[in-house]
């Protein structure tokens, strides 16, 4: 295997592995790090900037901080410094290990067995030092410390306690003595709780930038004025995450609040910190419809568009056979995601035993939902019929995305159809399989037999991770993506203790 093949394999594994559980990600990252340490460290730096999946970002840092390879630890610590407090705690907790007890739910007689999570290893001294610097950096600026504590009190307190780091006088007073200084936001929070009118509370929220999560527990009444104040201090992502809760409180019915929300959502379109698919999940979770849903959709589209452009001709083939209850939903999401990035036509077909072209008038989720609204799962599975249609129509593509469970059972089969396509169109497209439902690995094996490697993305209901497909599709080739990653400068650790 050449170095290029190895790196493509590493990249492929990273981009096509969904998140959810650090315990399962750890062995994978260890393997990737051992396979190509030089590439891995650049990949970590690249992913910190371009990636969207939180668990991978944390696992890169964990792996680098524990790695014996030269230079890895320095990069890992530099990346750690850029994390918010709750993620720093997750990194520390995973290395030290935790026993998680889940209390019995309502109606359950007993709690489930305690679960061990993490590596149960000693924390490297350098990591402890870096966390200390992380905390000292915040302590040096009272406003920064107050803000951090307001947002992540539990996490910061845990860092001090777990790593036996002596807090500054201010941190000690706020976190451990419960006596926040008079000039602190935490003191203001106490005063705010004593305010008698919503107007006073609204003023305090804005003056001290009290986050929604904290303020919501102490405000007397969610009047429109208070809600507007809360929205003003929220980041666009916070607003998106809390739309469901605001809706439940009836806060979104007020015209002035609606205007404040719209203003914030406009800002979200340009905010790099907004995760594209979280808006879509927010729409579903909160059961939002109408103008607000449309605006959230615009945010998703804007954030996706900001991730690049697909310049290579591309085909999207969606399996709608009887076994594919989920695939049509996934196809809709992928279609909406990539069609807005495509500079050229995205050839789309749904297939069971025969393939049918799909015309999508506008590249939005609404457009895809409407285009696929009369497509229902049914029929046997031919993974080659879409390719046959592409060949018959003379549609030359350089990459094919197949959303399928790979369980083909009628001809034309993928292998024969791909070979025929390759011969007729004189091109060998890259194949990206988005595996949905009860999948086999038949298509990956077929591609291997044909002499190339398919990228296989195992979809487990995790829509956030779908954006991982974008880097695979937006580069002129995977080779270009490798070059971009290797050219990613490595972050340097802040040397001086602030």
């Amino acid at each position: 295997m050449t170095e290029r093949d190895l790196r493509l394999g590493v990249l492929n594994t990273l981009l096509t592995t969904p998140h959810r559980d650090l315990t399962h990600l750890h062995p994978l990252h260890q393997e990737l790090c051992q396979a190509d340490p030089l590439f891995y460290v650049h990949l970590a730096a690249w992913y910190a900037r371009r990636g969207e999946v939180r668990d991978h970002k944390e696992m890169f840092i964990i792996t680098l901080c524990l790695s014996a390879c030269e230079g890895h630890r320095e990069v890992g610590l530099a990346l750690l410094r850029a994390l918010p407090p709750y993620q720093v705690v997750r990194v520390v907790d995973f290395i030290k290990g935790r026993i998680i007890k889940v209390p019995a739910r309502k109606g359950e007689q007993s709690a489930s067995e305690p679960r061990r999570e993490g590596l149960f290893r000693n924390l490297p001294r350098s990591l402890r030092t870096e966390v200390e610097r992380y905390l000292r950096e915040r302590e040096a600026e009272p406003r920064k410390l107050d803000g951090a504590i307001l947002h992540a009190r539990k996490a910061i307190k845990r860092l001090y306690a777990l790593l036996h780091i002596r807090p500054s006088a201010r941190a000690q007073a706020i976190l451990f003595d419960e006596e926040p200084p008079a000039d602190s936001s935490l003191h203001a929070l106490r005063l705010m709780a004593r305010c008698t009118t919503p107007e006073e509370q609204a003023k305090a929220i804005v003056a001290h930038r009290i986050p929604y999560r904290v303020a919501a527990t102490i405000v007397k009444a969610m009047t429109p004025e208070v809600v507007r104040a809360l929205i003003e201090v929220m980041s666009p992502q916070e607003l998106i995450n809390n739309l469901g809760s605001l809706k439940e409180r009836g806060a979104l019915d007020d015209p002035a609040v609606q205007q404040a929300v719209q203003g914030k959502l406009e800002a979200a379109k340009k905010d790099e910190r907004v995760a594209a698919f979280k808006t879509r999940v927010a729409v579903e979770a909160a059961g939002l419809s109408g103008q607000l849903a449309e605006q959230l959709e615009e945010v998703t589209e804007a954030r996706i568009k900001a991730r690049g452009q697909i310049t290579r001709p591309t085909a999207l083939l969606i399996d709608k056979s009887g076994s594919m209850y989920e695939a049509i939903d996934v196809g809709r999401q992928i279609g909406a995601m990539i069609s807005s990035l495509c500079r050229e036509t995205l050839w789309t077909y749904v297939f069971d035993e025969k393939a049918t072209p799909v015309q999508v008038p506008e590249p939005s989720l609404a457009g895809w939902e409407n285009a696929l609204s009369e497509v229902y799962p049914g029929g046997a599975t031919s993974c080659g019929c879409g390719l046959e249609m592409l060949a018959r129509a003379g549609q030359r593509v350089e990459q094919i995305i197949l959303v399928t469970d790979e369980n083909e059972n009628v001809a034309p089969f993928f292998q024969e159809a791909f070979t025929a396509y390759e011969e007729k169109m004189r091109t060998r497209p890259d194949v990206i399989v988005v595996k949905v439902g009860q999948c086999s690995d038949k298509l990956e094996k077929t591609c291997q037999a044909l002499g190339f490697q398919a990228s296989a993305f195992d979809f487990k209901g995790d829509y956030y991770a779908l954006t991982n497909l974008i880097p695979l599709l937006t580069q002129p080739s995977l080779q270009d993506l490798l070059i971009e990653i290797m050219e990613q400068p490595l972050p340097a650790r802040k040397a001086v203790l602030v």
């Binding site: 419809s289 009887g322 076994s323 594919m324 939903d329 035993e353 989720l365 059972n409 009860q438």
Partner: protein, 252 residues
């Protein structure tokens, strides 16, 4: 609309002699499944049974179909009366049992359709040891053709394997239709899976009924309009349309 809450489930059971030591455990599992599913009052359940053995000269009974019934006790009695006998070589006429279930049982047009395959031996022609028909089952069916038949009939196969020898073939048969394979020790997991499936399929009956009503009165209603009238989100409506459409409930 009347069939919105209907579930048709067929047990396809190996009753050859080799099942002698497993049949009681298998019967217990099947009856437990029925009892678990029958707890859901909102679902109209009907049950069928197909037993299979083998092709001559190995056995004279290839498959036998016991029609669907809504009398769950009668179905349980049918299952309890299944007697293991004959069979001959290792592999059995699994394909025939499944195809008989797909073609000979009278499935309700819009019911959610499930088949539970229960056996201890693989089908013919898939590499099982001691196979009298190593080149393929005399019926001419293959794993691919059987899963295609099931997919066309909108039937999802779940499989309960009583020995490790069936893990591969039963796994492929079930996955090929969107179902799952369970080892005999995972009987409870299989029941949980079926209950989850029921929840997904029938968990929003009021919403689904309302959606169907709106769609039947005005077919031109798009997703946006439906979402607005149902005060729901577009993705929720789109998913419901896929789910109901898969059962032919939205056919013109």
């Amino acid at each position: 609309m009347n069939e919105i809450n209907t579930l048709d489930m067929a047990f396809v059971v190996d009753t050859t002699g080799s099942m002698g030591s497993f049949i009681q455990a298998a019967q217990r599992q099947m009856i437990a499944m029925i009892e678990a599913l029958a707890q859901s009052n909102s679902v109209e359940l009907q049950l069928g049974v197909v037993e299979y053995r083998d092709h001559p000269p190995q056995d004279r009974l290839v498959s036998r179909v016991y029609p669907f019934t809504t009398d769950l006790r009668a179905a349980q009695t049918t299952i309890a009366r299944l007697k293991p006998d004959g069979g001959g070589d290792g592999p059995e006429s699994v394909f025939d049992g499944l195809v008989a279930a797909c073609r000979e049982l009278t499935w309700r047009p819009h019911a959610r359709r499930l088949t539970i395959l229960v056996g201890d031996a693989p089908p013919h022609g898939v590499g099982g040891g001691g196979d009298a028909f190593p080149k393929g089952c005399p019926c001419g069916e293959t794993i691919e053709s059987v899963t295609a038949t099931a997919e066309r009939a909108r039937i999802t196969i779940y499989a309960l394997g009583l020995t490790g020898a069936v893990r591969d073939s039963f796994g492929r048969l079930s996955r090929g239709t969107g179902g799952e394979y369970f080892d005999v020790g995972q009987g409870n997991a299989a029941i949980e899976r079926l209950q989850t499936l029921l929840k997904t399929e029938f968990g929003q009956l009021t919403f689904d009924r309302h959606l169907l009503e709106l769609r039947s009165t005005d077919r031109s209603l798009g997703i946006d309009a439906l979402a607005e009238r149902l005060t729901s989100s577009r993705p929720a409506v789109a998913s419901a349309l896929s789910r109901l459409g898969a059962r032919g409930l939205l056919s013109r």
